[in-house]
Assembly symmetry: C2
Homo-oligomer: 315 residues x 2
């Protein structure tokens, strides 16, 4: 249904349209990046598992993450809020406090917005950023690229399980996992290092490793292999959930880490410059566009659990 728009002649200087983490356009002085994403009560969150402040944090952070996945730096945010009439002013203030925490940390100005009535809480944010040079497009993976990810995976979806269980039995691990779900931390400086050092494609991990890698492979017309034992499963998820944590790391989603593809020497240089773990987890190959294969230590295809990897997807 977006084909009419995708196929529409462009009137201004669009560099990248619908279909990537963000869109981009050229201004007289630089390339700007724009993105918008929304969180809807009952769909993406409920107030028994997130505070208003968490919600504010996450609504802005996930948009900044999209800018980061393009290798850009966020600059300005605009917020479109839908609120039920009975919403307390203090709740909205908390929401903004959460957004301000992220805004300050990533040098972003919340410079506009509007509030309207709505049957449930809806927070739609648009972020404008600037490209630090080249855009990290999904479609730019090359055969022979290594696939790497920042940080640990599976933490956010394990956190959602902890939150939904209503129990808080495992102490510190549970706290870490809940935070992974409620307060994703966009990889802005890491994205810029990726551009600097010559990574090819990148995407932020919102839908889950396999799904998002599938988007990169599809857009690049290539296949991908993931070595399950190389996937950096979140240590607290491993503690809390044992073997099941691998499935969450592969398909859980909402970790907002960056996945990128690059030559081996580029990955080495990236590792030397960023302040978070970077794990090489597989390879980009010629083959069926979009096909992602998970293999074990012996390189043999790993069967998904009976319910399928997708079953572990959060939200």
């Amino acid at each position: 249904m977006l084909s009419g728009i995708v196929g529409m002649p462009l009137r201004n200087d669009v560099v990248l349209g619908i279909g990537d983490d963000a869109s981009a356009w050229r201004t007289p002085g630089l390339i700007e990046i724009g993105t918008t994403d929304a969180l809807v009560e009952g769909v993406h969150f409920t107030f028994d598992i997130a505070t208003w402040r968490d919600l504010g944090w996450k609504a802005l952070a996930i948009n900044i993450s999209d800018v980061a996945a393009m290798g850009g730096r966020p600059l300005y945010a605009m917020v479109s809020l839908g609120l039920p009439p009975e919403t307390e002013v203090e709740s909205v203030a908390d929401l903004y406090r959460g957004m301000l925490e992220v805004a300050q940390r990533f040098d972003t100005d919340i410079c506009g917005g509007n509030i309207s009535s709505a049957p449930v809480v809806m927070v739609s944010v648009a972020v404008i950023g600037e490209s630090s040079g080249r855009l990290l497009e999904r479609s730019a993976a090359l055969p022979g690229d290594l696939i790497a990810v920042t940080g640990y995976l599976g933490g956010a979806s394990a956190g959602l399980r902890v939150l939904r269980s209503g129990q808080d039995t495992r102490g510190e691990a549970a706290a870490v996992l809940k935070k992974a779900h409620q307060r994703p931390y966009p990889r802005v400086s890491e994205g810029q290092v990726l551009v600097d050092e010559g990574a090819n494609a990148a995407i932020d991990l919102s839908d889950g490793l396999l799904a998002d890698l599938g988007h990169v492979a599809q857009a690049s017309g290539l296949a991908a292999t993931v070595r399950a034992h190389s996937v950096p499963v979140h240590p607290a998820a491993k503690d809390a959930l044992g073997d099941e944590s691998l499935a969450l790391a592969l398909s859980g989603g909402e970790d907002y880490e960056l996945l990128f593809t690059a030559r081996a020497d580029v990955v080495d240089r990236v590792k030397g410059r960023v302040h978070c773990p970077v794990a090489v987890i597989g390879d980009i190959l010629s083959g069926d566009a979009g096909k992602v294969t998970v293999v074990d230590e012996n390189g043999l295809p790993l069967e998904p659990p009976e319910t399928g990897w997708e079953h572990f997807r959060s939200a």
Copy 2:
């Protein structure tokens, strides 16, 4: 509750923050304008009075109108859609068709967006534009300025009455009024003429003439007088609703015409250059900040109807 944000130190090059029709920031090559606004089902529209295509038109048009009210030109739009799971694909295609009609007419690229599930239809749009030089701020009215408006007022709210009545008895007038409600036409070229010719303040008429003029007067620390007999009541509203049409023109809202304040010679030059009616309706004066007085032909204060002018506000 926005004071924390308004008072927050700015990190980037914000020219105009929260509190005007749009925000603005400086890039290396130009001043950009950003705005976001949402339409929510059951709050701003229902599908018995608007088609999906009308909804698409209006959602983009009201954001372009905010750019127009700053004297800017729209460039890029990003769309955040919330849709109930049962929504038909063809409905969404119609929504985009309505947006594309406006986008093409105003040389705007719809270059990004996202779709998520929601309990009711919500369309949040962010538009980025460029300033043609100076920004037409709400706070820039000066004592002695004339107050002028483009086009006719009261058409949109009269149209809403026609649509809500479910009757369609008055033929052409009814059709014109319904269109005024469903398909507001942003005054983009007119806004740019206002900048060129040296108008001081401007605002688009979304909340209603008296409310929006109140915003300008408040922001400028001045008072305003409106001569009721000079207000350009929409001819079709007059036909359909007689005397009541004045109240709709004063308070109905959603006409998305531009109200501006300027010296008399500026107003004359604007009249000579734009292709729509421009009516001088009153004066900006020193006095209680934000106070708006409506006077009759003899300059005597006009009493509002028993229910108050606000009673006539639509939506």
